[in-house]
Amino acid sequence: MSDRSRIPLVPTGTPPSQPARLVDDFTPSLVDVGAHHLCPGCGEPIAIRSLVEAIDELALAQRTIAVFGIGCYTAFSNNLDVEVLQALHGRAPSVATGVKRCLPDSVVVTVQGDGDMVSEGLQEVLHAAARGESITCVMLNNGVFGETGGHMTATTVLGQRTKTSLDGRDPATHGRPILLADLVARLDGAGFVARCAVNSAGELARTHRALRRALETQLAGAELSFVEILTMCPTGWFVETTEAPRYLAENLGSVHRAGVLKDVLAETDAAVP
Protein backbone atom coordinates (compact mmCIF):
# COMPACT_ATOMS: atom_id res chain seq x y z
CA MET A 1 0.00 0.00 0.00
CA SER A 2 1.53 3.24 -1.05
CA ASP A 3 -0.08 5.72 1.32
CA ARG A 4 -1.72 4.35 4.41
CA SER A 5 -3.30 7.66 5.32
CA ARG A 6 -5.33 7.52 2.14
CA ILE A 7 -6.76 4.06 2.79
CA PRO A 8 -10.41 4.23 3.79
CA LEU A 9 -10.93 2.94 7.29
CA VAL A 10 -13.31 0.13 8.05
CA PRO A 11 -15.97 1.20 10.55
CA THR A 12 -15.49 -0.58 13.85
CA GLY A 13 -18.09 1.03 16.08
CA THR A 14 -20.84 -1.54 15.62
CA PRO A 15 -21.15 -5.20 14.64
CA PRO A 16 -21.01 -5.86 10.89
CA SER A 17 -24.18 -5.55 8.84
CA GLN A 18 -23.09 -8.31 6.44
CA PRO A 19 -23.66 -11.84 7.74
CA ALA A 20 -20.79 -12.72 10.04
CA ARG A 21 -20.18 -14.83 13.10
CA LEU A 22 -18.52 -13.69 16.28
CA VAL A 23 -15.26 -15.60 16.67
CA ASP A 24 -13.87 -13.77 19.70
CA ASP A 25 -15.76 -11.61 22.17
CA PHE A 26 -14.35 -8.64 24.07
CA THR A 27 -13.99 -10.50 27.35
CA PRO A 28 -13.43 -14.26 27.60
CA SER A 29 -16.50 -16.00 28.97
CA LEU A 30 -14.76 -16.95 32.20
CA VAL A 31 -13.74 -13.36 33.00
CA ASP A 32 -16.62 -11.46 34.57
CA VAL A 33 -15.65 -7.81 34.09
CA GLY A 34 -13.22 -6.77 31.36
CA ALA A 35 -12.27 -3.34 32.67
CA HIS A 36 -9.31 -3.33 35.04
CA HIS A 37 -6.77 -0.89 36.38
CA LEU A 38 -3.61 -2.72 35.36
CA CYS A 39 -1.09 -0.65 33.44
CA PRO A 40 -1.19 -0.10 29.67
CA GLY A 41 0.68 -2.94 28.03
CA CYS A 42 0.62 -5.21 31.11
CA GLY A 43 1.18 -8.82 30.10
CA GLU A 44 -0.75 -10.33 32.99
CA PRO A 45 -4.30 -9.98 31.61
CA ILE A 46 -3.07 -11.57 28.39
CA ALA A 47 -1.81 -14.60 30.28
CA ILE A 48 -4.97 -14.82 32.34
CA ARG A 49 -7.09 -14.72 29.20
CA SER A 50 -5.04 -17.55 27.73
CA LEU A 51 -5.41 -19.58 30.93
CA VAL A 52 -9.18 -19.22 31.30
CA GLU A 53 -9.67 -19.89 27.58
CA ALA A 54 -7.67 -23.10 27.94
CA ILE A 55 -9.89 -24.08 30.87
CA ASP A 56 -12.95 -23.29 28.76
CA GLU A 57 -11.71 -25.14 25.67
CA LEU A 58 -11.08 -28.28 27.72
CA ALA A 59 -14.54 -27.89 29.34
CA LEU A 60 -13.06 -27.71 32.82
CA ALA A 61 -14.87 -24.66 34.21
CA GLN A 62 -17.08 -26.76 36.46
CA ARG A 63 -14.14 -28.63 37.91
CA THR A 64 -11.62 -25.85 38.38
CA ILE A 65 -10.47 -24.17 41.54
CA ALA A 66 -7.91 -21.42 40.99
CA VAL A 67 -5.63 -20.55 43.88
CA PHE A 68 -4.32 -17.01 43.60
CA GLY A 69 -1.19 -15.49 45.05
CA ILE A 70 -0.72 -11.80 45.72
CA GLY A 71 0.39 -9.38 43.06
CA CYS A 72 -1.12 -7.14 40.40
CA TYR A 73 -2.91 -10.19 38.99
CA THR A 74 -4.86 -10.50 42.25
CA ALA A 75 -7.14 -7.95 40.60
CA PHE A 76 -8.62 -10.96 38.84
CA SER A 77 -9.15 -13.17 41.88
CA ASN A 78 -12.69 -11.88 42.42
CA ASN A 79 -13.33 -11.43 38.72
CA LEU A 80 -13.43 -14.93 37.27
CA ASP A 81 -16.27 -17.29 36.56
CA VAL A 82 -14.33 -20.18 38.04
CA GLU A 83 -14.08 -20.92 41.77
CA VAL A 84 -11.22 -19.06 43.39
CA LEU A 85 -9.38 -19.52 46.68
CA GLN A 86 -7.20 -16.57 47.64
CA ALA A 87 -3.87 -17.51 49.23
CA LEU A 88 -1.08 -15.48 50.75
CA HIS A 89 2.02 -14.26 48.97
CA GLY A 90 4.08 -17.32 48.07
CA ARG A 91 1.74 -19.82 49.67
CA ALA A 92 -0.55 -20.93 46.85
CA PRO A 93 1.10 -24.32 46.19
CA SER A 94 0.49 -25.67 49.70
CA VAL A 95 -3.08 -24.36 49.68
CA ALA A 96 -3.59 -25.91 46.25
CA THR A 97 -2.23 -29.19 47.63
CA GLY A 98 -4.81 -29.21 50.41
CA VAL A 99 -7.59 -28.62 47.88
CA LYS A 100 -6.38 -31.30 45.46
CA ARG A 101 -5.82 -33.92 48.18
CA CYS A 102 -9.42 -33.44 49.35
CA LEU A 103 -10.91 -33.11 45.85
CA PRO A 104 -8.74 -35.27 43.60
CA ASP A 105 -11.16 -34.92 40.67
CA SER A 106 -10.99 -31.15 40.68
CA VAL A 107 -8.60 -29.19 38.47
CA VAL A 108 -6.44 -27.02 40.68
CA VAL A 109 -4.41 -24.20 39.21
CA THR A 110 -2.22 -21.67 41.00
CA VAL A 111 -1.73 -18.16 39.60
CA GLN A 112 1.32 -16.47 41.02
CA GLY A 113 3.88 -13.83 40.09
CA ASP A 114 7.64 -14.25 40.20
CA GLY A 115 7.97 -12.26 43.41
CA ASP A 116 5.29 -14.47 44.93
CA MET A 117 6.48 -17.83 43.63
CA VAL A 118 10.25 -17.49 43.43
CA SER A 119 11.09 -14.99 46.15
CA GLU A 120 8.57 -15.53 48.92
CA GLY A 121 7.37 -18.97 47.98
CA LEU A 122 10.33 -20.85 46.49
CA GLN A 123 10.11 -23.75 48.91
CA GLU A 124 6.39 -24.13 48.38
CA VAL A 125 6.55 -24.73 44.64
CA LEU A 126 9.65 -26.92 44.86
CA HIS A 127 8.10 -29.11 47.53
CA ALA A 128 4.86 -29.39 45.58
CA ALA A 129 6.87 -30.44 42.53
CA ALA A 130 8.93 -32.92 44.52
CA ARG A 131 5.77 -34.42 45.92
CA GLY A 132 4.40 -34.66 42.43
CA GLU A 133 1.09 -33.03 43.27
CA SER A 134 -1.13 -33.16 40.19
CA ILE A 135 -1.78 -29.44 40.26
CA THR A 136 -0.87 -26.81 37.67
CA CYS A 137 1.32 -23.95 38.83
CA VAL A 138 1.34 -20.88 36.60
CA MET A 139 3.97 -18.20 37.14
CA LEU A 140 3.54 -14.76 35.63
CA ASN A 141 7.19 -13.70 35.44
CA ASN A 142 7.94 -10.04 34.80
CA GLY A 143 11.16 -9.96 36.80
CA VAL A 144 9.87 -7.42 39.31
CA PHE A 145 7.57 -6.94 42.25
CA GLY A 146 5.10 -4.94 40.20
CA GLU A 147 2.39 -4.26 42.70
CA THR A 148 4.69 -2.67 45.24
CA GLY A 149 6.21 -0.39 42.59
CA GLY A 150 9.09 -2.14 40.85
CA HIS A 151 11.52 -3.95 43.13
CA MET A 152 13.98 -6.76 42.56
CA THR A 153 12.82 -10.34 42.79
CA ALA A 154 14.64 -13.64 42.61
CA THR A 155 14.13 -13.66 38.82
CA THR A 156 15.32 -10.12 38.08
CA VAL A 157 18.09 -10.38 35.47
CA LEU A 158 21.63 -9.02 35.75
CA GLY A 159 21.76 -5.40 34.76
CA GLN A 160 18.06 -4.87 35.29
CA ARG A 161 17.38 -1.62 37.08
CA THR A 162 14.78 -1.68 39.80
CA LYS A 163 14.18 0.45 42.88
CA THR A 164 16.31 -1.97 44.89
CA SER A 165 18.95 -2.47 42.19
CA LEU A 166 19.24 1.11 41.06
CA ASP A 167 22.42 0.67 39.02
CA GLY A 168 21.29 -2.66 37.63
CA ARG A 169 21.38 -6.07 39.30
CA ASP A 170 24.98 -6.80 40.15
CA PRO A 171 26.07 -10.33 41.12
CA ALA A 172 28.41 -9.10 43.83
CA THR A 173 25.67 -7.21 45.64
CA HIS A 174 22.45 -8.83 44.52
CA GLY A 175 23.37 -12.30 43.41
CA ARG A 176 21.98 -13.88 40.28
CA PRO A 177 18.50 -14.73 39.02
CA ILE A 178 16.86 -18.06 39.72
CA LEU A 179 15.64 -19.75 36.55
CA LEU A 180 12.73 -21.50 38.17
CA ALA A 181 11.41 -23.58 35.27
CA ASP A 182 14.84 -25.15 34.97
CA LEU A 183 14.89 -25.98 38.70
CA VAL A 184 11.42 -27.46 38.65
CA ALA A 185 12.19 -29.55 35.58
CA ARG A 186 14.95 -31.33 37.50
CA LEU A 187 12.52 -32.66 40.10
CA ASP A 188 11.18 -36.12 39.40
CA GLY A 189 7.69 -35.15 40.50
CA ALA A 190 7.38 -32.57 37.71
CA GLY A 191 5.36 -33.89 34.79
CA PHE A 192 5.23 -30.90 32.47
CA VAL A 193 7.44 -27.84 32.58
CA ALA A 194 7.40 -25.05 30.02
CA ARG A 195 8.49 -21.46 29.73
CA CYS A 196 6.87 -19.06 27.28
CA ALA A 197 5.86 -15.42 26.86
CA VAL A 198 3.10 -13.06 25.79
CA ASN A 199 5.08 -10.34 24.02
CA SER A 200 4.06 -11.36 20.49
CA ALA A 201 1.29 -13.27 18.77
CA GLY A 202 3.63 -16.20 18.13
CA GLU A 203 4.79 -16.39 21.74
CA LEU A 204 1.21 -16.12 22.94
CA ALA A 205 0.19 -19.03 20.75
CA ARG A 206 2.96 -21.12 22.34
CA THR A 207 1.78 -20.00 25.78
CA HIS A 208 -1.71 -21.17 25.01
CA ARG A 209 -0.48 -24.56 23.86
CA ALA A 210 1.63 -24.90 27.00
CA LEU A 211 -1.30 -24.08 29.26
CA ARG A 212 -3.47 -26.65 27.50
CA ARG A 213 -0.73 -29.23 27.81
CA ALA A 214 -0.30 -28.43 31.48
CA LEU A 215 -3.99 -28.97 32.13
CA GLU A 216 -3.91 -32.21 30.16
CA THR A 217 -1.01 -33.33 32.33
CA GLN A 218 -3.10 -32.69 35.42
CA LEU A 219 -6.09 -34.51 33.94
CA ALA A 220 -3.86 -37.50 33.31
CA GLY A 221 -2.70 -37.40 36.94
CA ALA A 222 0.84 -37.06 35.61
CA GLU A 223 2.08 -35.02 38.56
CA LEU A 224 3.04 -31.35 38.69
CA SER A 225 2.54 -29.20 35.63
CA PHE A 226 4.33 -25.87 35.58
CA VAL A 227 4.06 -23.02 33.10
CA GLU A 228 6.25 -19.96 33.45
CA ILE A 229 4.93 -17.06 31.36
CA LEU A 230 7.13 -14.02 30.77
CA THR A 231 4.90 -10.94 30.89
CA MET A 232 5.51 -7.28 30.13
CA CYS A 233 5.71 -4.74 32.94
CA PRO A 234 6.64 -1.40 31.36
CA THR A 235 6.00 0.39 34.64
CA GLY A 236 8.25 -1.90 36.68
CA TRP A 237 10.89 -1.86 33.95
CA PHE A 238 10.81 1.93 33.62
CA VAL A 239 10.42 1.71 29.86
CA GLU A 240 7.89 3.13 27.43
CA THR A 241 4.82 0.96 27.04
CA THR A 242 5.58 0.27 23.40
CA GLU A 243 9.18 -0.69 24.23
CA ALA A 244 8.17 -3.40 26.67
CA PRO A 245 7.71 -6.30 24.22
CA ARG A 246 11.24 -5.80 22.91
CA TYR A 247 12.65 -5.26 26.41
CA LEU A 248 11.14 -8.61 27.38
CA ALA A 249 12.68 -10.39 24.43
CA GLU A 250 16.13 -8.87 24.83
CA ASN A 251 16.50 -8.83 28.60
CA LEU A 252 14.28 -11.43 30.24
CA GLY A 253 13.84 -13.80 27.34
CA SER A 254 17.56 -14.17 26.80
CA VAL A 255 18.03 -15.41 30.37
CA HIS A 256 14.74 -17.16 31.14
CA ARG A 257 14.71 -19.07 27.92
CA ALA A 258 11.50 -20.27 26.32
CA GLY A 259 10.82 -23.90 25.59
CA VAL A 260 9.26 -27.10 26.82
CA LEU A 261 11.67 -28.46 29.40
CA LYS A 262 9.76 -31.58 30.36
CA ASP A 263 6.66 -33.33 29.00
CA VAL A 264 6.02 -36.77 30.42
CA LEU A 265 2.86 -37.18 28.35
CA ALA A 266 4.93 -36.70 25.19
CA GLU A 267 7.45 -39.24 26.43
CA THR A 268 4.70 -41.78 26.99
CA ASP A 269 3.14 -40.97 23.63
CA ALA A 270 6.48 -41.51 21.99
CA ALA A 271 6.78 -44.84 23.73
CA VAL A 272 3.49 -46.07 22.32
CA PRO A 273 4.17 -47.81 19.00
Partner: protein, 83 residues
Protein backbone atom coordinates in the same frame (compact mmCIF):
# COMPACT_ATOMS: atom_id res chain seq x y z
CA UNK B 1 -8.72 -6.09 -0.78
CA UNK B 2 -10.34 -9.37 0.15
CA UNK B 3 -11.59 -8.98 3.65
CA UNK B 4 -12.60 -12.07 5.55
CA UNK B 5 -13.24 -10.55 8.92
CA UNK B 6 -13.84 -7.37 10.83
CA UNK B 7 -13.68 -5.96 14.32
CA UNK B 8 -15.68 -4.00 16.80
CA UNK B 9 -13.19 -1.87 18.72
CA UNK B 10 -14.11 -0.58 22.18
CA UNK B 11 -12.06 2.57 21.83
CA UNK B 12 -12.77 3.80 25.34
CA UNK B 13 -11.26 0.65 26.84
CA UNK B 14 -8.00 0.99 24.92
CA UNK B 15 -4.87 2.10 26.77
CA UNK B 16 -2.77 2.65 23.67
CA UNK B 17 -0.23 -0.13 24.25
CA UNK B 18 0.01 -0.98 20.53
CA UNK B 19 0.49 -4.72 21.06
CA UNK B 20 -2.22 -5.38 18.49
CA UNK B 21 -0.38 -3.46 15.80
CA UNK B 22 2.56 -5.87 15.55
CA UNK B 23 0.43 -8.89 16.36
CA UNK B 24 -1.80 -8.45 13.31
CA UNK B 25 -0.46 -10.73 10.54
CA UNK B 26 -2.01 -8.84 7.58
CA UNK B 27 -1.00 -5.58 9.29
CA UNK B 28 -4.41 -3.93 8.96
CA UNK B 29 -4.29 -2.20 12.33
CA UNK B 30 -2.62 1.16 12.79
CA UNK B 31 -2.76 3.60 15.65
CA UNK B 32 -5.08 6.47 14.82
CA UNK B 33 -4.54 10.10 15.69
CA UNK B 34 -7.69 10.59 17.75
CA UNK B 35 -7.61 9.96 21.48
CA UNK B 36 -10.28 8.47 23.71
CA UNK B 37 -11.71 10.00 26.88
CA UNK B 38 -8.67 8.87 28.90
CA UNK B 39 -6.26 10.40 26.42
CA UNK B 40 -5.04 7.23 24.75
CA UNK B 41 -4.75 6.75 21.02
CA UNK B 42 -6.47 3.65 19.76
CA UNK B 43 -6.20 1.38 16.73
CA UNK B 44 -8.08 1.84 13.46
CA UNK B 45 -8.81 -0.88 10.93
CA UNK B 46 -7.99 -1.06 7.24
CA UNK B 47 -9.48 -3.53 4.74
CA UNK B 48 -7.95 -7.00 4.66
CA UNK B 49 -8.78 -8.35 8.11
CA UNK B 50 -8.75 -12.15 8.16
CA UNK B 51 -10.57 -12.62 11.47
CA UNK B 52 -7.55 -14.48 12.90
CA UNK B 53 -8.06 -13.15 16.48
CA UNK B 54 -4.40 -12.31 17.01
CA UNK B 55 -5.42 -8.82 18.17
CA UNK B 56 -8.14 -9.92 20.54
CA UNK B 57 -5.94 -12.59 22.09
CA UNK B 58 -3.01 -10.24 22.77
CA UNK B 59 -4.99 -7.18 23.87
CA UNK B 60 -4.58 -6.72 27.63
CA UNK B 61 -7.74 -4.64 27.84
CA UNK B 62 -10.25 -6.76 25.94
CA UNK B 63 -10.83 -4.08 23.34
CA UNK B 64 -11.75 -6.24 20.37
CA UNK B 65 -14.66 -8.24 19.12
CA UNK B 66 -13.65 -10.28 16.07
CA UNK B 67 -16.08 -11.33 13.36
CA UNK B 68 -15.64 -13.59 10.39
CA UNK B 69 -17.83 -12.88 7.37
CA UNK B 70 -19.87 -15.75 5.99
CA UNK B 71 -18.79 -14.55 2.58
CA UNK B 72 -15.54 -12.55 2.27
CA UNK B 73 -16.05 -8.96 1.14
CA UNK B 74 -14.11 -7.05 -1.42
CA UNK B 75 -13.25 -3.70 0.13
CA UNK B 76 -11.63 -0.85 -1.71
CA UNK B 77 -8.25 0.33 -0.54
CA UNK B 78 -8.46 3.51 -2.50
CA UNK B 79 -10.05 6.55 -1.02
CA UNK B 80 -12.61 8.04 -3.41
CA UNK B 81 -11.44 11.36 -4.81
CA UNK B 82 -14.27 13.85 -4.16
CA UNK B 83 -13.34 15.81 -7.23
Amino acid sequence: MLTRGTLVIDVEACKGCELCIDACPPRVLTMGTDVNARGYRFPVLAPGCTGCKACSQICPDFVFQVYKYETPLELSTRREDPS
